[in-house]
Structure formats: C-alpha cells, structure tokens
C-alpha cells in the first residue's frame, strides 16, 4: 500500500521535473525571442528612418546597424541557451 503511494508520488515528482524543464525551454526561448524581436524591429526601423532622412550617411549607419543587431540578437540566445541547458542537462 505504502509502496504504491510512494511510487506514484515519485512518478508525479518526475513528471513535475519534466514539466519544469519544458517550461524553462519555452520561457527561455519564447520570451527571449519577444524581447530580441522588439529590439531588432526598433533597430531596423530607426535605420530606415535615418537613411531616408540622410541618405548620404548610409555607410556609417550600416556599420552601426549590424553592431546593434548583433548585440540585440545575442540577448535572444542568452535566454535560449539557458533554456536548452535546463532542458537537456
């Protein structure tokens, strides 16, 4: 009797741990993508704005644009890698 109760409790704990891992991956990947997506959208929007306003600055702006893009995109990967580490390790 006690053994069956205990085993079902342990199974529930295992399921809970699996669910937690899945949530970690979902939150890390999903919410990370939200923030980085907004950031990348702002960067490219501003680049379009500034290039239409001052087309002669295009080369200079392009350099800064990729710097900002990479810095923002990295934030997505922080969340994603943290989620993947939680899920697989």
């Amino acid at each position: 009797m006690l053994a069956t109760i205990l085993s079902s409790v342990f199974a529930a704990v295992d399921d809970g741990a699996d669910a937690g891992k899945a949530i970690a991956l979902g939150v890390g990947g999903g919410l990370g993508a939200v923030g980085a997506g907004v950031g990348i959208g702002i960067i490219f929007g501003k680049v379009i704005e500034s290039v239409t306003r001052q087309p002669e600055m295009r080369d200079e702006i392009t350099g800064i644009q990729w710097l900002g893009f990479a810095l923002t995109e990295a934030c997505f990967f922080y969340g994603l890698v943290a989620g993947l580490i939680a899920f697989f390790l």
Binding site: F69, A70, L71, Y78, V81
Partner: protein
C-alpha cells in the same frame, strides 16, 4: 512561363508530393527516441591523453585548424602580393581594410590603432576562421562510426570550437587584461579608477556610480564571452534540430521533411551572417573597450 517560375513550381510540387508520400508511407505517429541524446554532439571525448589539462579532443583540433588557417592564409597572401591583385587578394584586401579602418581605426586614435591593430586583426581572423570551419562537416564524431572498406571512419559532424564556453572566455580574459593594463599604463592606477566615474558626478552619487562601473567591467567579461558562445551553440543546435534531429528525437518521419527547408535557410543564415558578424562584434567591442580605457573623459 519563365524558366525561374518553372523551376520554383517544380521544386514546390516535388516537395508537396514527397511530403504526402512520406505521410502515406510512415503515417503520423510519434515514437519517442530515448537513446538519441542531442547534447552528445557537443561532448568532448578525449582522443589523445596528455599529462595535465592538455588532452587533445575535437575542440583542440578545431582550434589548431583555425590557428593554422589564420597564419597560413595571411602569410600566403602576403608573400604573393601583386601590383595587379587577383580575386583572392582583392577579397583579403577588403577584409584587411575592414579590420584596419572600420574595427580598429574607427574606435581608436591613430597611435593606439597602430599599436593594437595586429592584436585586434588576429582576434577577428581567428574567431572568424573558428566560426567558419564550424560549418564544414568534418569526420569528428567518434561516437558514431561507419565502415569504409573495413576502416571505421568517424561520422561527419559540424562542430565549432567557439561553441565551448572555455574558448571565448579565454579570449575575453585576454581582452579584459589588456584593456585594463593599457588604461592603467595611460593614467596610473588611481587615475584609471577615477576615470571610471563620469565627469560632473560628485559626492555620494560618485561612489555609487563607481561601484556600478567597476562591476560592469567584470560583466563585460561575461557578456563578451557568452555572446559568442551562445550564438554559435544555439546556431549549431538549431541547425541540428531543423535538419533531422527533431525528427529522430520524436520518431516522426514527416517532421524531418517539413523542417529540412528551414534547416537549409538557417544554415545559410549562420554561415553568411552570424559567423562573420560575431567575429566582427568581438573585435569591435575589443577596440571600443581599449579606446574607452585610455580616453580622457569617460
């Protein structure tokens, strides 16, 4: 109808027909595969055991290849400089001017740029080669071997040394030490510490800002290394999942065919943009940190 439309229609039709065929043959049932461990793609098996922490594994092999390529290609081009450049020399010259004018020259003054250009250029090339050879399938997977005329050949796998936290961390440590030493040499210990406080901040606020800036210096160590590591690791994992890993993991054959085009697109994105961009970012931030350390005003 134009040829391009015909080709597109043909490829699209083939894709759809084969998708339906796979669905019909294998069905839409899921069988979880417990034995496939995707994280093992990034496990480092010791190949040659050496005393101390100098064991040779596949990350070390990738590092050697990247270091060799960095030196060999540049020396080879430098020996064969021509007045009328051929295509390879033109490409290298574009790369050289990117390193000298954009990365180093754009962020450092003339004297510092001349002094630090070799370091920043080498850093850029080394990380760039490290990232790029990471996308070439090499026979490195000693866990899964296949037979070629009786010889066990390791499975072909893509792996990048920069997908290990250790390697970007060591590079970031070198950068950290060099810009701090450069700052102290330019201003002295007290002057360097004082220059962390922005001009015009006084009193209790200055103490608070000083602690914040001091700690943010160490945060640079983390952000610099984890950015490169996470980008390359996530890129490789996404390519792995999209080009078949997910189908194997879930035992769902049709999923592999659905995700394959995404895998190809992501592979091209990683090779074309991320590999170069991450090397560029690492070198640019190194230059910015060096410039910030010796600048008169924060």
């Amino acid at each position: 109808m134009k040829t391009r439309t015909k080709i597109l229609l043909g490829v699209g039709g083939f894709y759809l027909v084969s998708l339906i065929l796979i669905l019909v043959i294998f069905g839409f049932t899921r069988q979880d595969n417990e034995s496939f461990q995707p994280q093992n793609e990034f496990k480092l098996d010791t190949w040659i055991s050496l005393p101390g922490p100098f064991d040779i594994n596949k990350a070390v092999m990738y590092l050697f290849i990247a270091a060799f390529l960095t030196c060999a290609t540049m020396l080879w081009i430098a020996r064969r400089m021509q007045a009328r450049p051929n295509r390879v020399q033109t490409a290298v010259e574009v790369l050289f001017s990117l390193m000298r004018d954009n990365i180093t020259g754009g962020n450092l003054d003339d004297k510092m740029a001349r002094k630090w250009f070799p370091f920043i250029g080498t850093l850029f090339l080394f990380i760039w080669f490290n990232n790029l050879i990471g996308y070439i399938p090499l026979p490195t997977n000693t866990e899964h071997t296949f037979d070629v005329f009786g010889v066990a050949v390791p499975g072909f796998a893509i792996y990048a040394a920069t997908a290990n936290l250790a390697i970007p961390l060591v590079l970031a440590l070198i950068v950290f030490v060099s810009y701090n030493v450069e700052g102290i040499r330019a201003k002295g210990v007290g002057g360097y510490l004082k220059s962390l406080i922005p001009a015009g901040v006084t009193g209790g606020m200055a103490v608070f800002i000083f602690i914040l800036e001091f700690l943010s210096n160490f945060m640079r160590l983390i952000s610099l290394s984890v950015r490169l590591f996470a980008n390359i690791l996530a890129g490789h994992l996404i390519i792995l999942f999209m080009s078949g890993g997910l189908a194997v993991l879930l035992g769902l054959e049709v999923l592999g065919w659905i995700t394959l085009p995404l895998g190809v697109i992501l592979f091209l994105f990683e090779v074309g943009l991320v590999a170069t961009l991450q090397a560029f970012i690492f070198a640019t931030l190194t230059a910015i940190y060096l410039g910030g350390a010796v600048a008169e005003h924060h």
